[in-house]
Amino acid sequence: MKRYLTILALILALALPPFLDEFSLAVLVQTLMWAYLAMSWDVIGGYGGQFSLGHAAFLGLGAYTSTLLLENFGLIPWIGIWISGIVAGGAGALVGFASLRLRGPFFALGTIAFAELTQLLLTYLKDITGGPLGIMINKVGFEYMIFDKQIYYYYLMLAFTVFGVLFLRYFERSKFGIALIALREDEDAAEAVGIDVYRAKVLGASISAFLTGMGGTLYAQWIHYIRPDTLVRLDFSTQIAAIDVVGGAGSPYGGIIGALILVPISLYLNALFGGMVAGLSVLLYGVVLLVVVVLMPGGIYGFLRRILMRRERYARG
């Protein structure tokens, strides 16, 4: 059953876009981007149980790395994106180390401070980063990952999103993935069965940051203009976490489900009602978040799974 749904979804995803207008495609691009970011967060936030609220820092570090490499050395983003990942991954290791000492909400607060500091650093290292005015990406062309039509961005993001899902599906069965899940469930028990919890936390955070950093490059090439205060924002970090939790943290599909539910609605409402009643779409976002967190542990994916399992049990009699 799941397989047919997936194939259908893939066919739709591949075939539908040529028929859509630029705006709708832009909405889809953003949806997929947030889905990808949510899945990257999920590695450490969902599977690892380390609730980071500073992931926008990795987004920013990734975006700035590839952009600076492009501006100063002409390095094309197709290569730069990997370096973005490595730089972000390095920062992720720092966060991983912090998670060794800080638990739960303390860790979350620590990551918030970390992200704020990152934003401040990006703003004040003017000579390197161009300061608070940011950097404009002026190049055009396929080799610069800058396209003139949304549809190309769409297929690029689709590739990354599909990769994300496949990666998570592989990851949750892998030896390392099991270690992260175990330490999420019970850190002491994980140590007791031979898992090096410290190493796992640091490595998990690095992987998550690496993936997010790559997302930063994609975002930079899509939006053409990066600034510390519009990129490394607390509400980006919370949105990444919220999307994944709403969709279902700790599962390969949580990111997509959460993004599909939260992103298009807010973007369409924004467009329809404009600035003043922008409050409305945000209100909806807040209410959905509240309802899912309180009523559906395991997010929407967890909720659906439980319903399906109950149906199976009825069917069996």
Partner: protein
């Protein structure tokens, strides 16, 4: 060169803010201490306190300090409602503490957007008699509004502390924050205590909002955010379980911000505060005054 007079002037201004930080942090510290919940909406509730004062002064012409009492009751009731829909249902389940982060985030976002829709993003302020009068001591000038805000914050903290030590409810709250299982065993209704604690915490934030509104020129729906971070910095700095530690930390943070604003550029003070925050968090997670956290 900036003369000493201007230095102390600025630091005093920030220290006064520190007093209000302390009051807000007190609410957060209570909530955290009793149920290990994070109230993401605290700053927004403070913002509602600001607006309560604003509308009461504008519509009813009453003294802002009377509005403080109204805000206490109003926000307290709202806090109770928020607790019942966002905290209580998840707090005892596994992962409940992180869940409260997100559920109160949802509340925060909802409050902000409703406030935006109702009151528009433009900043407001109101005139009151306290603003215009200035006090001078030791060569430093502050407005009466700031001085009253500071003193009332301290008084409110003192009253809360007395309440915690002498009243039945207060003692029950302390019991739950020190040992929830033991408290249940001796017959304390832990969920009721949680409800009251959350309501009181929010009510204190409301009062803080009223106090701030007397001198803060920037009453707007998105004002809450600033107080959030500063308050949590104070809470972490002070650590769990210490009411007076909160005052001390509030003052320190306030002064730190002031020093940062003078010695470096204005926004560098943020870097200073966040760095100190991280250092404290990493080196002494239980804060300066808190009880140590247990292991295994």
């Amino acid at each position: 060169m900036i003369e000493l007079g201007a230095y102390s002037q600025l630091i005093i201004s920030y220290a006064i803010l520190g007093g209000v930080y302390a009051l807000t942090a007190l609410g957060l510290s209570l909530i955290w201490g009793v149920m290990r919940a994070v109230n993401w909406a605290h700053g927004d509730l403070l913002m509602l306190g600001m607006y309560t004062a604003y509308w009461m002064v504008l519509l009813l012409g009453i003294d802002p300090l009377i509005a403080a009492i109204v805000a206490f009751c109003l926000l307290g009731a709202l806090g109770g409602i928020i607790h019942l829909i966002a905290i209580e249902p998840v707090i005892e389940k596994p992962g409940g503490h992180e869940a409260t982060l997100l559920s109160t985030l949802g509340i925060s976002v909802a409050i902000q957007s409703i406030a935006l829709i109702l009151w528009s993003p433009s900043p407001r302020s109101y005139d009151n008699i306290y603003k215009g009068i200035y006090l001078e001591f030791f060569g430093v000038r502050t407005s009466l509004a700031e001085a009253i805000a500071f003193s009332l914050s301290l008084i409110a903290i003192f009253l809360t502390d007395q309440f915690m030590k002498r009243s039945r409810l207060g003692k029950a709250i302390r019991a739950v924050s020190q040992n929830p299982i033991g408290a249940r065993v001796v017959g304390i209704d832990v969920s009721k205590i949680r409800l009251f604690t959350f309501a009181i915490g929010v009510a204190l934030a409301g009062v803080a909002g009223v106090l701030v509104s007397t001198f803060y020129p920037n009453i707007r729906p998105l004002a809450g955010y600033i107080w959030d971070i500063a308050s949590y910095v104070v809470v972490i700095f002070a650590g769990l379980g210490s009411i007076y530690g909160v005052i001390f930390s509030g003052l320190i943070i306030g002064v730190l911000e002031g020093i940062g604003a003078i010695t470096f550029t204005n926004a560098f003070r943020h870097i200073l505060v966040y760095s100190v925050f991280l250092v404290v968090l990493l080196l002494r997670p239980q804060g300066l005054f808190g009880r140590a956290l247990r292991r295994v």
